[in-house]
Amino acid sequence: MNSAFKFLDTSIGRKVLMSLTGLFLCTFLIVHVSGNMQLFKNDYGLAFNQYSVFMTTFTPIKVVSYLLYLTIILHAISGFRLTMQNRAARKISYGATKDPRSSSWASKNMGILGTIILLFLVTHMANFWFKYKFGDVPYVQYMLDVNSGEVLGAPVGLTDSGHMKPHELMASDANGQPVKLVIVRDLYNVVKIAFQETWLVVLYLLGMIALAYHLVHGFQSSFQSLGIRHPSYASLIQGIGVWVFGILIPLLFAAMPVYFYFMKS
């Protein structure tokens, strides 16, 4: 234990911590963006709402999510320390402005980019995670075709008894035909309403731009920090960093608020 702390107190150890926590957050992004793609489904949010139940109740996922919160905190604190130490290493700055050709803008501004991401994360968690966990997100009831599982129209709101749990039951519709009822909390609607706010949509877009820049540098940098670098795969890592983490993932995330903002409700 002591030697682990000693390791983390070396310049290379600090970067290894940064790199491992950063890469763990990268894998989380893949899971998060894939899951949230269900927001785009044409099912009045049923799949998304069911997915939300799964993500907040399935024990292994709960364990991983606490690990994730810890990781974000570790990454942010450690990033803050690094930035402070790096500043202290040059107390008097240069008079002439530095030629920008020698390094990328993102690589020089990881602390600022990280801070924007952190502000975004706090707002994001307060808006959805906190509301879902501790707020009063109402229950709704979906009516499904028994055979095809197709959602038959928008869900109807239920008055929350306070003891309700997500569940499914069989019933019959007005014509006496058998239907399946799914009762679940409507996080989808919370998302939909939240993204009517222009400022929130703008904040999300800013957050995603910051994330994109953070990862264009950060993804490939984390391999360098771990000493994983060889000409045979360096361009592959670089490519994944730019195309997957710098472009694809932020773009998909950004599409979500934009989709709801322009969706006719």
């Binding site: 690094l82 690589s107 020089k108 000493g227």
Partner: protein, 251 residues
């Protein structure tokens, strides 16, 4: 002579380590484009001496790009505008007449300014002394090529050993990190069988000394590689990280 240049220099002047420094402006008149940057500085200094003023202190020794003493931060770049060139090998033809040139010392907490453009780079020596050597028992002269070394490793080690310890990597890095220098020194031994005996202790001791000297951490901005006059590659930093992890985790 026609074709000669007139330049304005903004030079950092500082009497001693603890004195307050400031930029002073000087005119460099009738400078030949074929002069080296340091020769231009010599001309300016001669004029200052003739005028009864203190000449500008700057470090230099070989003036042929091999000792690593010259150290000027010129117009926002370590060793000036050219790639792969030390200040002493930079020529005035890289500038144009009428230009204002800003000249500053390396800036790093671990490299305090001693006077004007001269900084104290003994931090590098202490890092080197901490582990940048091989211990050999002296005896009779060994056969050349008695130890087989692959051509690739020999070449790589040679490229790493090209580092002249000038400190431009530290000066160019936004974090004043010494990772490129230290990694070049670690690599040149790690790649050779002679360095194997002290492989683990070397990297641990050198990194520990580097940290104690107050250099910053590496953000992988790669400004060091872009500015290094000997074009030392950041792949050395990856190798040092590997060596360090290996020594920490598998010993």
């Amino acid at each position: 002579m026609s074709g000669n240049m007139n330049l304005t220099l903004k030079v950092w002047r500082q009497k001693s380590q603890n004195a307050q420094g400031a930029f002073e402006t000087y005119e460099a008149k009738n400078i030949s484009p074929d002069m080296s940057f340091l020769e231009m500085m010599d001309v300016v200094n001669e004029d200052l001496i003739k005028a009864g003023k203190e000449p500008i202190a700057f470090d230099h020794d070989c003036r042929e790009g091999i000792c690593g003493m010259c150290s000027m931060y010129i117009n926002g770049r370590a060793h000036g505008p050219l790639k792969g060139v030390t200040t002493c090998q930079l020529h005035m033809r890289s500038f144009s007449s009428g230009e204002t040139i800003t000249i500053e010392p390396w800036r790093a907490s671990a490299f305090p300014v001693l006077r004007d453009l001269v900084v104290d780079r003994t931090a590098f020596e202490r890092i080197q002394q901490a582990g940048g050597y091989v211990s050999v028992n002296t005896g009779s002269v060994p056969d050349a090529n008695a130890i087989p070394i692959s051509k690739e490793n020999a070449d790589e080690a040679f490229l790493s050993a090209a580092c002249i310890g000038c400190g431009a990597c530290v000066a160019a890095c936004k974090n004043s990190s010494a990772m490129l220098f230290v990694s070049a020194k670690v690599s040149q031994y790690a790649l050779l069988p002679q360095g194997n005996v002290e492989r683990k202790e070397r990297v641990l001791k050198m990194v520990s000394q580097m940290d104690q000297e107050g250099f910053g951490n590496c953000s992988n901005t790669e400004a060091c590689e872009a500015e290094c006059p000997k074009e030392i590659k950041v792949t050395n930093i990856a190798r040092m990280n590997r060596e360090f992890l290996r020594a920490k985790l598998f010993s």
